[in-house]
C-alpha cells in the first residue's frame, strides 16, 4: 500500500515539474502544430488538390473534326485529371521547364481516321523524372480514348455487318454513307445505356467519408508519432538527469523500493504521453478535420498502447546510454530514422516493397498502421486490437530489457 502511494507521488511529481516547465508547451504543442501545418500543405504536392489527388495534362489539339474536342472534354471529366487546351509551343516549353509532367498531342487526322476506321496513334509526352504522374495519366488517357472510339467502332461494325450480308447491292437499299450515318446515330443512342457499369467504392467502415485533404491524413498521425516520441523519450530519460544530479540516490535512501521509484517515474511519463497524444489528436480533428473520432474506444486503445511502447523505449534508451547529454544525440539518431522507416514522414505506399516490409518490424510502422486504420478505414476496437497488441508486445520487451539493464548509481 505504502509502495503504491509512493509510486503515485513520484508520478505526480513528474507531471507537476513537466507541466510547470514552459518548454513542455513548445515541444508538446507548438512544434507539432507547426510541423503538421507545414508538412500537411507540403504533402499535398503528392496530390495538388484539397480532395482526391489530381494530375494536370496539357492537350495540344490539331484535330480539324469534332473528336479532338470531345476527347479533351472526356479527359477533363475524369475525376483525377485536369485537362487544359494548350498550344504546342506553350506545352513544350512547360514540359521542358518541368512545370508540366504530361502532354498529349492530338494529330490533325484523328477525326478523319476514326470515321474512316483507320488506326491512329497519339503521341503522349512524359517526363523521365516524373514517372508516377506518367503512369497514372497514361491509364486514364487510354480509358478516355476507348470511350471516344467506341461509338465509331459500333457504327463501323454495323456497316461491316451490312456489307457481309450484301445489303448494299440490293434494290431499295440505302447507300453506304446513308447507312453509316444512321449507324452513328444509333450507336450514340445505344451508348446512353451501357450494359456494364463499374461501381467503385473504398473498403472503409467510416460512417461518413469526409473529404480530408490528403496531406493531413498523413501529416496529422505522422507528426503526432514523431513528436510524441521526442516528448516521451526525453521524459523517460530524464531519470538519467536525476541520477546525475543525485536526487535519485537520495530517493534510494528512503524505504521506497527501486522498482517503485522507476515505476512511478515511468507512470508519470506514460500519463503525460497519453495527454500529449490526445491533445494532438484533438487538434488534428478540430483544426484539420482529420476524422479521429469515429471509434473512441479503438483510438483510446491505440493511444494507450503507443504511449506505453514509447515510454518503454525511452526506459530502454535510458538504460543503454551513460549520460543524459548522450540522449540528445541518440534520440535524434533513433527517432528520426524510426519515424522515416515507419512511414511517419511520408506515405509508406510510395516506398519500395522491402522498405514497406522493414516498417513492419518497427513500433513506428505499427503505430502508423493503427492510427491510419482508424482515420482512413474506420476500424473499431475489435479490428484495432491486434495492432495495439503488437505495440504492447514491443513495449513489454523494451521495458523488460530497460529495467534489467538500468543502473541506479
Amino acid at each position: 500500500m505504502k509502495q503504491i502511494k509512493s509510486l503515485i507521488q513520484i508520478a505526480w511529481l513528474y507531471l507537476y515539474t513537466t507541466y510547470k516547465d514552459r518548454s513542455t508547451l513548445i515541444w508538446g504543442l507548438a512544434l507539432p502544430l507547426i510541423f503538421t501545418t507545414v508538412l500537411g500543405i507540403g504533402m499535398q504536392g503528392f496530390a495538388r488538390d484539397d480532395e482526391a489527388p489530381t494530375w494536370q495534362i496539357a492537350v495540344v489539339n490539331d484535330d480539324a473534326g469534332a473528336f479532338g474536342q470531345e476527347l479533351i472534354a472526356g479527359l477533363d471529366a475524369h475525376p483525377s485529371l485536369r485537362a487544359a487546351d494548350a498550344s504546342r509551343e506553350e506545352a513544350e516549353a512547360q514540359l521542358e521547364a518541368g512545370d508540366l509532367s504530361v502532354m498529349l498531342y492530338i494529330p490533325a487526322e484523328l477525326s478523319s481516321n476514326l470515321e474512316g476506321g483507320l488506326k491512329t496513334t497519339l503521341p503522349f509526352y512524359t517526363r523521365i523524372n516524373e514517372p508516377l504522374s506518367a503512369q497514372v495519366v497514361e491509364q486514364a488517357v487510354l480509358a478516355a480514348l476507348f470511350d471516344l472510339s467506341a461509338s465509331v467502332d459500333i457504327a463501323n461494325t454495323s456497316l461491316r455487318v451490312a456489307e457481309r450480308m450484301d445489303l448494299f447491292s440490293r434494290a431499295g437499299a440505302p447507300s453506304q454513307a446513308e447507312y453509316l450515318q444512321e449507324a452513328q446515330t444509333a450507336a450514340q443512342t445505344a451508348q446512353a445505356a451501357q450494359p456494364i457499369s463499374v461501381n467503385t467504392r473504398q473498403v472503409s467502415r467510416l460512417v461518413e467519408q469526409t473529404e480530408v485533404p490528403i496531406g493531413f491524413t498523413q501529416a496529422s498521425p505522422g507528426n503526432m508519432v514523431i513528436f510524441s516520441m521526442f516528448f516521451i523519450v526525453y521524459g523517460a530519460s530524464s531519470i538519467l538527469l536525476e541520477r546525475e544530479q543525485g536526487t535519485l540516490r537520495r530517493l534510494l535512501t528512503t524505504p521506497v523500493s527501486k522498482l517503485t521509484i522507476l515505476g512511478g517515474k515511468l507512470l508519470g511519463v506514460f500519463i503525460a504521453g497519453v495527454a500529449q497524444i490526445t491533445l494532438l489528436v484533438v487538434v488534428g480533428q478540430l483544426a484539420f478535420d482529420v476524422p479521429w473520432g469515429q471509434s473512441p474506444t479503438a483510438l483510446a486503445a491505440m493511444i494507450v498502447a503507443f504511449a506505453f511502447c514509447i515510454t518503454s523505449m525511452g526506459m530502454l534508451l535510458a538504460a543503454l546510454v551513460r549520460t543524459y547529454a548522450q540522449i540528445d544525440a541518440m534520440s535524434m539518431m533513433l527517432i528520426l530514422p524510426l519515424a522515416g522507416l515507419g512511414g511517419a514522414m511520408w506515405p509508406i505506399e510510395i516506398v519500395p516493397d522491402f522498405m514497406q516490409k522493414i516498417a513492419m518490424w518497427l513500433p513506428t510502422g505499427w503505430a502508423m498502421k493503427g492510427f491510419k486504420d482508424i482515420i482512413l478505414r474506420g476500424f473499431g476496437l475489435p479490428e484495432i486490437l491486434p495492432t495495439a497488441g503488437v505495440l504492447v508486445l514491443f513495449g513489454v520487451i523494451f521495458l523488460a530489457l530497460g529495467v534489467w539493464r538500468f543502473k541506479y548509481e
Binding site: Q191, V198, N199
Partner: protein
C-alpha cells in the same frame, strides 16, 4: 591571435566528442541514406508502381468474367498488376483492410448471362464491383482506369452487336430468307481483329522527355537538406557551450585573464563557425564518396555557399543563445528553431511549392536560402551567377546576427 587559439581549441573539443560527432555527421548521413533508399526507385527511370496487389473474385464463371481475368493478366499489365484469383468476396475485402491488397474486383454471379443477349436478342445490364484501399492514394486511380477500360471494351462489343442487329432488322424485307444468317454474320464480325483489347483504334505512343537532363537524384536534394538541418543543431549546440562555461565559471575565469572579453567571445563564436565549416566539409566529401552525390560543377560557388551558410547558421545560433536566459532555455529554443527552420525551410521537401504566409515564413529561415543556393548548384548544375541572391541574403543574416550576438554577449559578461 588569442581569438584564433580559442576557436581552434573549441573546434577540436567538439570533434573529439563522439556524441557530438553522431549528431553532426552520422545522423545526417544515416537519414539521407534512408531517404535515398525510400525514393531511389524514382531516379532509375523505372515505373515507380509495380506489382500492385489485386484480387479478382469471379462469381460469374462465365465468358465475361474470364475476359476480365485475361486482360488483367495480359503482357501489357503483367508488371503493373499482381493479380490473384479468390473465391470469397468478403475474404478478399478483409485483405484490403489488412493492407495486403490494394483493390478487389468482384464479378457477380450471372454477370455474363445478364448482359450477353439471349437467342431473342434480349439483354439486360449488370455491374462489376471494384473495391479499393482508402489508405492508398495512387494505385486505386490506376486500377480504376484499367477496369473501366476493360468494361468499356466489352460494352463496345455488346453494343456493336446490338446496334448491328437492330439496324439490319429494319432492312429485313430486303434480305428475306437471308436474315437467318444475321446472327452468324454479327458473330463473325465481332470475332474479327477490330475488337482486340490490346490493339484498339486509338493508341498511345509514349514519348519520354527530359532524358538529356540529369535524372532526379534524391540524394542531390536530401543530402544538402539534411546537412543544413543538422548544421543548425550543431550551431546552436556550439553557441550553447558559451553558457555552459558561464555556468561552470570557466568563462569568468577566462575573462579575468588579460585576454579581452570581446576576443574571448569572438573566439568562442569563431569556434562554432569553424566546427560548422568542418562538419559541412566532411558531409560534402563523405556524401560524394558514400552516395556518389555530385555537388555541382562550380567549386567556387559551393565554397561560397558553404561558408555563408555556416556563417548565417552560426550567427543565428549565437544570437538566439545570447538572448537566452540560461543554458536550458537556449537548448529548448535551439532545438525548436532548428526543427521549425528545417520544416519551413525545405530541408524535408522542396519549399518552392509553398504559398502565402507559410512561404513568407519560409523565406525568413536560414535553411530556405541555403537550400536555394545549394540546389541551384547540385540539382540545377548552376554556377556563381545563379546563387547571387541566396549569397547576399545569407551574408546579410550572418552579419546582422553575428554583430548582435557579439554586442549582447559583451554586455552580458562585462560586469
Amino acid at each position: 591571435m588569442k581569438t584564433l587559439e580559442i576557436a581552434i581549441k573549441d573546434t577540436l573539443t567538439r570533434f573529439r566528442d563522439w556524441k557530438a560527432l553522431a549528431g553532426m555527421l552520422a545522423a545526417p548521413l544515416i537519414i539521407s541514406a534512408m531517404i535515398g533508399l525510400a525514393f531511389g526507385g524514382l531516379s532509375s527511370g523505372e515505373a515507380p508502381l509495380q506489382d500492385i496487389p489485386m484480387a479478382l473474385v469471379d462469381l460469374d464463371q462465365g465468358e465475361l468474367g474470364q475476359a476480365y481475368y485475361d486482360v488483367l493478366t495480359s503482357p501489357d499489365l503483367e508488371t503493373l498488376i499482381a493479380l490473384e484469383r479468390m473465391q470469397d468476396a468478403e475474404a478478399a475485402k478483409a485483405r484490403i483492410e489488412s493492407g495486403e491488397l490494394r483493390a478487389v474486383l468482384v464479378i457477380p454471379a450471372g454477370f455474363s448471362d445478364n448482359v450477353i443477349p439471349d437467342n431473342e436478342g434480349n439483354s439486360g445490364t449488370a455491374s462489376v464491383e471494384l473495391y479499393t484501399d482508402p489508405a492508398a492514394s495512387v494505385s486505386p486511380v490506376i486500377i480504376k482506369s484499367i477496369v473501366e477500360r476493360i468494361s468499356a471494351s466489352i460494352n463496345t462489343l455488346l453494343l456493336a452487336g446490338q446496334v448491328s442487329g437492330e439496324q439490319m432488322a429494319q432492312y429485313a424485307p430486303l434480305l428475306g430468307q437471308e436474315m437467318a444468317r444475321l446472327g452468324e454474320a454479327i458473330g463473325a464480325e465481332l470475332q474479327s481483329s477490330n475488337f482486340t483489347f490490346e490493339d484498339p483504334p486509338l493508341g498511345l505512343e509514349v514519348v519520354t522527355t527530359g532524358e538529356d537532363e540529369e535524372p532526379f537524384d534524391p540524394f542531390a536534394f536530401f543530402i544538402p537538406g539534411m546537412a543544413v538541418f543538422f548544421l543548425m543543431f550543431s550551431m546552436f549546440e556550439g553557441s550553447r557551450s558559451i553558457l555552459q562555461e558561464e555556468r561552470r565559471w570557466t568563462l569568468q575565469r577566462l575573462i579575468s585573464t588579460p585576454t579581452s572579453t570581446w576576443q574571448i567571445i569572438l573566439g568562442k563564436m569563431g569556434g562554432t563557425f569553424l566546427t560548422g565549416l568542418l562538419q559541412f566539409a566532411v558531409l560534402v566529401i563523405s556524401s560524394s564518396v558514400l552516395f556518389g552525390v555530385s555537388w555541382g560543377n562550380s567549386i567556387a560557388g559551393l565554397l561560397i555557399m558553404v561558408v555563408l551558410t555556416v556563417f548565417a547558421a552560426s550567427g543565428m545560433g549565437a544570437m538566439l543563445t545570447a538572448f537566452s536566459r540560461n543554458e536550458n532555455q537556449a537548448g529548448v529554443v535551439g532545438s525548436a528553431v532548428s526543427l521549425v527552420f528545417g520544416a519551413l525551410g525545405g530541408s524535408f521537401f522542396p519549399a518552392d511549392g509553398l504559398t502565402g504566409i507559410v512561404n513568407i515564413a519560409s523565406r525568413l529561415t536560414v535553411n530556405r536560402w541555403a537550400m536555394e543556393g545549394l540546389l541551384a548548384l547540385t540539382v540545377e548544375r548552376g554556377g556563381l551567377a545563379d546563387i547571387q541572391l541566396p549569397v547576399l541574403v545569407l551574408a546579410g543574416i550572418g552579419l546582422v546576427t553575428f554583430v548582435l550576438a557579439l554586442l549582447v554577449f559583451q554586455k552580458r559578461f562585462v560586469k
